[in-house]
Symmetry: C2
DNA sequence: GGGCGAATGATACAATATAACTTTGGGCCT
DNA sequence: AGGCCCAAAGTTATATTGTATCATTCGCCC
């Protein structure tokens, strides 16, 4: 595995004068971290699962399961919906990707291995979703739940609108 | 329209000693408010749309579109998926119901006509979803978005876990 | 080399949602 | 009254997203 795939990716748009984004570095970091974490946990980041993780990481836009399937099928003829959903389920269980519920799509996690709740800013114009980690927001969620005597197991926070680039 | 439908509803479970919940009153209030709001806005709460609103309000559990369809079809033979989705879209646009993204299901809004962002506590055990209105939480969301120079258009907050009754 | 279990292959199908065109019916103008 | 308009609903077909189920493969252990 781990064949080179530079320049096969599709990062988000960027405004003139803005510092460029080495997305290959994003991917490399994510894959490396995934390997380390799976190793530590003694779970198998198989070639298939790693390939799916790569595909999800091709951009910072949430990607649909069937988009993953199409891409995967280019090099993996046996790919079928269960192939993809199983890999996605594994990656979610290990905290390597998140599901964006309001889009039915999946996004690489930038904070894999670090305890955090997923909070997203999703731009309707450019399609990028930024994962934010905001302890204040997280506390507010916990406080709201506590007030209602509710035991939190999962938090879904998805803010849709326009990112700074697209609103500017 | 507005035929009596008392006792056709299905409210959530309740713990012994807890004050009962007159769910018929929930429904009546919601329908009455919906009529007033649609009247003020000069939009049509048609019999079909009102019936769908009634069905969604049958319980405090989010209900799927096809559950609505099944129920609707009992008295409305022409009902088809577009029938239901159009009614649901209308009700969402008027703020009379919300979509719970993490469940692909719909829930009556208890704060129709009042500006608020939807925040939900969803119990995985009993299935009920409680809408909460927490200004602190709302402010935390706005602050997080502002910090990222993000223009908010829609906020999705869905906290899943166990409600006080089911955790107790 | 036989049994076990995790991962994947393979087939079929379920659940959720939308596109696109047609028909209905009420308000309104002449 | 007759014709026009438009929103709503009817109708048919299809797209998109997600699962159930059983078979096969393969490494590991005894
Ligand atoms: Zn990147
Ligand atoms: Zn953007
Ligand atoms: Zn509401
Ligand atoms: Zn409960």
């Amino acid at each position: 595995m781990a064949e080179p795939r530079k320049s096969a990716q599709q990062a988000g748009p960027r405004r003139a004068g803005e510092k460029p984004h080495d997305h290959d570095a994003c991917i490399d970091t994510a894959i490396a971290r995934a390997r380390t974490l799976c190793d530590e946990r003694a779970v198998q980041l198989t070639p298939l699962r790693e390939k799916v993780l790569q595909i999800v990481w091709r951009s910072h836009k949430p990607v649909g399961a069937y988009q993953v399937l199409d891409e995967l099928a280019r090099t993996h003829k046996a790919a079928r919906p269960p192939t993809v959903y199983r890999a996605l389920d594994f990656l979610i269980a290990e905290g390597l990707i998140h599901k964006i519920e309001s889009l039915n799509a999946y996004l690489g996690c930038g904070e894999a291995g670090v305890a955090h709740t997923s909070q997203f800013l999703i731009c309707r114009a450019c399609g990028t979703a930024e994962e934010i980690v905001d302890p204040k927001l997280d506390q507010a969620l916990d406080a709201a739940a506590k007030r209602a005597r509710f035991t939190v197991e999962r938090k879904v926070v998805e803010i849709a609108g326009l990112c700074g680039r697209c609103a500017g």
